[in-house]
Subunit: 551 residues, 2 copies
Amino acid sequence: MVSGDEPEAMHQAMAGALGAALDDIAAVQRRAREGGTAENARWPMIVLRTPKGWTGPAEVDGLPVEGTWRSHQIPLPRVHDDPEHRRMLESWMRSYRPQELFDSDGAPLPEVTAPLPAPERRISASPHANGGLLLKDLSLPDVRNHAVEVPEPGKTRHQATKVLGGYIGDVIRANPRSFRMMGPDETTSNKLDAVFEVSGRAWDAELLPTDEHLSRDGRVMEVLSEHLCQGWLEGYLLTGRHGLFNSYEAFVHIVDSMFNQHAKWLKVARELPWRRPIASLNYLLSSHVWQQDHNGFTHQDPGFLDHVMNKKPGIIRVYLPPDTNSALVTTDRCLRMRDTINVVVAGKQPALSYLSMEEAVAHCTRGASIWEWASTDAGFEPDVVLACAGDAPTRETLAAAGLIREHLPELKVRVVNVVDLMRLLPAEVHPHGMTERQYDALFTVDKPVIFAFHGYPWLIHRLTYRRNGHDNLHVRGYKEEGTTTTPFDMLMLNDLDRFHLVMDVIDRLPGLGVRAAHLRQRMQDERLRCRTHTREYGEDAPDIRDWTWSG
Amino acid sequence: MVSGDEPEAMHQAMAGALGAALDDIAAVQRRAREGGTAENARWPMIVLRTPKGWTGPAEVDGLPVEGTWRSHQIPLPRVHDDPEHRRMLESWMRSYRPQELFDSDGAPLPEVTAPLPAPERRISASPHANGGLLLKDLSLPDVRNHAVEVPEPGKTRHQATKVLGGYIGDVIRANPRSFRMMGPDETTSNKLDAVFEVSGRAWDAELLPTDEHLSRDGRVMEVLSEHLCQGWLEGYLLTGRHGLFNSYEAFVHIVDSMFNQHAKWLKVARELPWRRPIASLNYLLSSHVWQQDHNGFTHQDPGFLDHVMNKKPGIIRVYLPPDTNSALVTTDRCLRMRDTINVVVAGKQPALSYLSMEEAVAHCTRGASIWEWASTDAGFEPDVVLACAGDAPTRETLAAAGLIREHLPELKVRVVNVVDLMRLLPAEVHPHGMTERQYDALFTVDKPVIFAFHGYPWLIHRLTYRRNGHDNLHVRGYKEEGTTTTPFDMLMLNDLDRFHLVMDVIDRLPGLGVRAAHLRQRMQDERLRCRTHTREYGEDAPDIRDWTWSG
């Protein structure tokens, strides 16, 4: 460490420190080249400690300034109207001897510019500071190789993140030097551990015989600090590489503020023509609000979606794939994007699949579509639209559609699933936004729309308040009711369950209320039955747990 | 440090460590009592390091478990159907020798319970673990003593946080042992430094002769870590005291996730009858999006309001005082509350005052009211409602009202200011919410409402989407456009300036568009003039900067 206030002594000390550091670096390199390993090399570090406000005014108005907190910001506050302050400023500035550095036109003298590196060797010209210059497309494996078999909609169960783990492993295999996955110690907990068949966790410290999946060159970077994960990934993307951050949905809020700054950076960078596009920042959120296992209320918060949507719409993408194949298609697309921030929410538990790979590609391309096999309005105007976004709400919507088909067969029901949430925004607000005609055709302008949503219900209103028929839109979602309980009880606590959705249809469809009062009462009884079952057995009733679509 | 796997040796080592620690504590106390100071006392700490899964199964299915990561969560995963796992579980459980600890009914033996402290001495019974038991009302100074003189609305300027600093200083003076202010090194930057006349910053380390406002017993706790500030304040409140967290508005997002957990804690605690209410957590946000001085886009984010409103409405309060006296009244009320989280956004720059202390009390009690002196609809239905929330939007709304009065004198304009944002929610959703009748009377059911809002505009839609006349509501606010520029340029970048508000009235009021096209064009010219001025002089045009209300 060097500390001093005598410039000449300082110059010599600094030169000496630099010389010693360069010798140390040469020794590290020699050992690595001769011994064949650079492991645990200790690189030199120079710590330069100077007085705060060094070489500035020592004292102003009788108070010490140099070397104190007073030299922060404006050491001479009254230069405008205090001749003494002005004189001190001049003498301070002259202490740098500008006449020895600049010519009479104010240009730096040749001896000042001579030691500068050639332009392309300057730090600011490093391509790593404009990572898009170095960016190469990922070599992406065919997502179809990981498709799950879905012979009929809503009959078979798959674990979306488990399948995604295999796909991401393939991505790592095909791009061993340019793709990383960061996460707060949740790769296994989020069921992505198939990646470990391809690459381990990056690990620099001691290795024990019992360790598994640790590797000096692991492409999975885990540390129980969302801040570090976010920082690592930002640095990796900004220097021209690709990656993905997987996190528990509730705890990704830890990086809200860091997300803000990256989003603002992207917005400004897009306006600078010399900044080349970088790979998008991908969040894969799992262990979400509707599937908590042994965790409870603390782990229930889908509000990151609200948070990201406050940023400039053009750079934000939010996807809620309803099943495994759509999660694959969505993730594949996110890995191809540039200069955006993508959020994908995917489940980790066995859950019903609805779409074959071909259907998933078509659905994700549309972003939102009518599920014809679940609808009964073909060729007619629907009486009611059941919309949904997210895996659990989609299942409940389908179960509600089944109940209506059974008990109110005369109703014409349209089921709409939204996988790309940005489709709901107006086309002039977001590049994925639907035109007015598209939206009106899908959701109608005058029919009740019961929207079962993964997150806080008001987010859907915030996206659609300019739409025709917004008064007819009724959204169910997470309203901050929760505890450690069963999946279906969680839905009931928030009025997002199939029975409540049927009650909502009865309540909202003009003229149906009185006629369907019996059914409405039965739906309440069903809720009571299910609640009683959870309280007695600690799990969901078998008919709920094992429900499948029977169209 | 103690480490071992031999229980008897461990017991002895632990007893030895405890004895040594108690001796150390006695020595510290003796020195303090004899020497009169406990400064820099080093309290003992026992570090107990044990193998992970200690005393659990050493090996399961041929793999080491005790002392490895495999003992995390479920060391014996197949107890249900693997007799060997079941046998191991039984032998593990029996290793604790339960027959020596419990009687035949399963109750702990007297020799187990004998060393336990009496019930009221148990850690769980400490009143500090149920802080409401210890909570005493603050002794609050009369906020009127700090009132600023406002002889006429919109003529004089005051700095809200500067005046608040004096009031908070008085609170500290009257409550020297039960009130603290936490903040990330921004007390002075947020202009609250009048508190330092009463108490310094808490400081435990070395003191230098140049230090100011540092004190061993300072009631202001500053550290440039919002996480620490939040944690300190939560601990202080949970143990029965009172406090306030002041922060830059943009960077309070750093504690989004910590806020979530405190909000969830409060929601659950309110449902537990034995949990006594604790003092509310108060956030005072300043250096807000509309007044950035030398800071820019990175410092512009009013989204904490959106974040807090995702939590259970009953525990959330958000206030946007339009001027200094209303900021005083609001803060005084927040310091009286229990079991809520209160957010107050207040400006730090000189800004127009509109309300005398009496008027501020009335306005803050209503939460939202018609400003009659600025309105021209007395005795009539208004043609248009100009609503506003936040200091800068309020000024722009009043300036727009003045322009309309001048150029469209036949229009009946109602100016409504909202200080308590929760008033906009329906009465059945929030305890402060307006009934339908109140809301309809204030905002009309069929007239255009141009709402100038401090934050992201969709937050107002999210609060009002159930309201009558919501289709007629047009909100202006921050839409993520910003840079390092002048205050008025910031407003123009986001279409929140007076001229754009007049254009909005012209665009939204049926039948006005064609007739007022000349005025609309002049408003565009005014925006161009103001923009040109900022580009030429680096500051706002004098008529904008010095504008006052002339009713």
